[in-house]
């Protein structure tokens, strides 16, 4: 179960904005999904290691040598707003 206040809290954490109608629907949808998910609580998982990777892999390292990367103008080409040097956004303090 999840209530409306929790939905509002999670919405803020996720940087989403939902209408009142969407919040109501989300509360119901998430509650029924979480009810289903909570069945895993029935399992005895004491001492079971959580999976961190499915295929065993050692650390993958490469020499720390500079390589060419995207030219600045290419990296900025799809930006919604740019000053030609970086990505432009409103001041976080505004």
């Amino acid at each position: 179960m999840i209530d409306r206040d929790q939905v509002l809290h999670v919405m803020r954490l996720a940087r989403l904005r939902l209408t009142d109608e969407e919040i109501e629907r989300m509360t119901g949808d998430l509650s029924s999904i979480l009810d289903h998910i909570e069945k895993i609580g029935e399992l005895d998982l004491d001492g079971v290691e959580p999976t961190s990777r499915v295929v065993e892999l050692e650390n993958v390292l490469r020499p720390d040598e500079p390589r060419p990367s995207l030219p600045r103008e290419v990296a900025l080409a799809e930006a919604p707003d740019t000053d030609g040097i970086g990505f432009r956004v409103p001041s976080p303090g505004a």
């Binding site: 939905v7 940087r15 029924s32 399992l43 079971v48 499915v54």
Partner: protein, 471 residues
């Protein structure tokens, strides 16, 4: 010469290499067919002019449909999201680049569920795809456009991605072959990330030979994806005619209640065919597989909520909001994401939030360990695990959109293999009331060549006719 559109991709490649067919003729035939797409399978098409392909390229210029999840330089790569509408990446995904280099030029980008989240293709911001067997039904998802394009003969073959069943389930619902390879065998570089510990690219094709041929040229290590292991050996083209000595395990946990009678009938007929070909069929236990959907719908949304944080209107894609930075983020995401994407971000953010992390994400990752252990134990006594791919045939457009949980349960038979990271194929087993039924065969990590070989023998015994969908 027969109609070029009736050839499998491998047959077409052979004819081109033998000089019996020109790559240009093949390209023109498919480019024209794809331009007449009435299924909404394609989101965009390549220029009409046939691309240059090296004369000795192994894939001989056979055109390829590419899921919109793959970044392709200078070509819209939107993951079927409004948020990325118009986005033209500055680079191409490794899997696509490898196939282009091997001689399979891109025919177009295919429709999908937004950010690969869905099992019906109804979550696309650009409208649903229709199933070529019955246009009132879904093609499955999330690689629905790729599956429908191949089934309808709009493309000779296609690539998609599979996180919890997104290649296998649409392949099953459209009556074609789909392979989810071992996690890590194909680079994920340039695949717009959904759930990074699960996402894997793979082929969607008309038959098993085409799948093997395409897969052979997709696998391989990549400096740009350190989780990519490649494959220990080259994928072999299948030749088996018999299944002598091969043991197929049927997990009762996944094949009990909940299967449509028509799906069960095709599945049981297929088991009979395995025995006729010399294989054995036994029960094999996967005791924790009943909890796979629960674990998956914690792990995948949790990873998605982190991966989709990058869509904030700052560096690429659409931007909304005129106020402060926080409003810019929130309004961009409010307007850019569809309802299912928002639902998964919410679910994942909740599961990872302070106080809930261990109860949800921690437990789900422990269940994942148990599920992988179940398969490991099963493969001590059998060579393959076999199930239907989907509990039902293709359902009607709109039928499951009101109930997200019902939609999630569409993946009940494919998610366990995804969590275990093992390879699995879906091949057409037959029809139920005129709609295709898929059969799924899974094996241990890196057993793709064995799976493909067994599937090839079975495919020949089944003799499935996909031509009605290409009419």
């Amino acid at each position: 010469m027969s109609n070029v559109l009736d050839l499998t991709a491998a047959q077409a490649a052979t004819q081109v290499r033998a000089g019996d067919l020109s790559a240009k003729e093949l390209w023109d035939a498919y480019r024209e067919r794809a331009a007449g797409d009435g299924l909404n399978a394609f989101l965009c098409l390549a220029d009409a002019d046939a691309p240059d392909v090296a004369a000795d390229a192994p894939l001989a210029g056979v055109p390829l449909a590419v899921k919109d999840l793959f970044c392709t330089e200078g070509v819209q790569s939107a993951a079927a999201s409004k948020l990325l509408e118009g986005y033209k990446p500055p680079y191409t995904a490794t899997a696509v680049e490898r196939l282009t280099a091997a001689g399979a030029p891109m025919l177009g980008k295919t429709n999908m569920d937004e950010f690969a989240m869905g099992s019906s293709n109804e979550n696309s911001a650009f409208g649903p795809v229709k199933n070529p067997w019955d246009e009132s039904r879904v093609p499955g998802g999330s690689s629905g456009g790729s599956a429908a394009a191949v089934a309808a003969g709009l493309a000779p073959w296609a690539i998609g991605t599979d996180t919890g069943g997104s290649i296998r389930q649409p392949a099953a619902l459209c009556g074609i072959v789909g392979v989810k390879p071992t996690y890590g065998s194909i680079s994920r570089y340039g695949m717009i990330a959904f759930a990074s510990s699960l996402d894997q690219a793979g082929p969607l094709t008309r038959d098993v030979t085409d799948a093997a041929l395409l897969l052979r040229h997709m696998v391989g290590t990549d400096d740009y994806d350190s989780t990519c292991t490649g494959h220990p050996e080259e994928i072999a083209l299948p030749t088996a005619e018999r299944l002598d000595g091969l043991r197929f395990g049927v997990p009762p946990e996944l094949t009990g209640e909940g299967l449509d009678p028509g799906v069960r009938e095709v599945f049981e007929t297929t088991l009979g065919r395995i025995e006729e070909l010399g294989g054995t069929v036994t029960d094999v236990a996967l005791p924790h597989s009943g909890h796979a959907i629960s674990a998956y719908y914690v792990i995948a949304p949790a990873e998605a909520s982190a991966n989709l944080a990058r869509f904030d209107g700052v560096r690429y894609g659409q931007r909304a909001g005129n106020g402060d930075l926080r409003s810019l983020y929130e309004e961009t995401r409010e307007q850019g994401f569809g309802p299912e994407v928002k639902r998964r971000i919410m679910l994942g953010t909740y599961a990872l939030s302070s106080g809930y992390y261990d109860a949800y994400y921690g437990s789900a990752q422990r269940v994942r360990t148990k599920i992988a252990g179940d398969f490991h134990a099963a493969f001590e006594s059998v060579d393959f695990v076999i199930t239907p791919t989907s509990p039902t045939v293709a359902f009607g457009l709109g039928e499951r959109t009101a109930d997200p949980l019902a939609m999630y349960l569409s993946d009940v038979l494919t998610v366990p293999m995804s969590l275990a990271g093992i390879p699995a194929i879906s091949i057409p087993g037959g029809l139920s009331h005129g709609m295709p039924v898929g059969v799924q065969i899974a094996g241990p990590a890196f057993s793709e060549s064995k799976i493909l070989d067994a599937s090839y023998a079975l495919e020949r015994a089944i003799g499935f006719d996909g031509s009605p969908a290409r009419a």
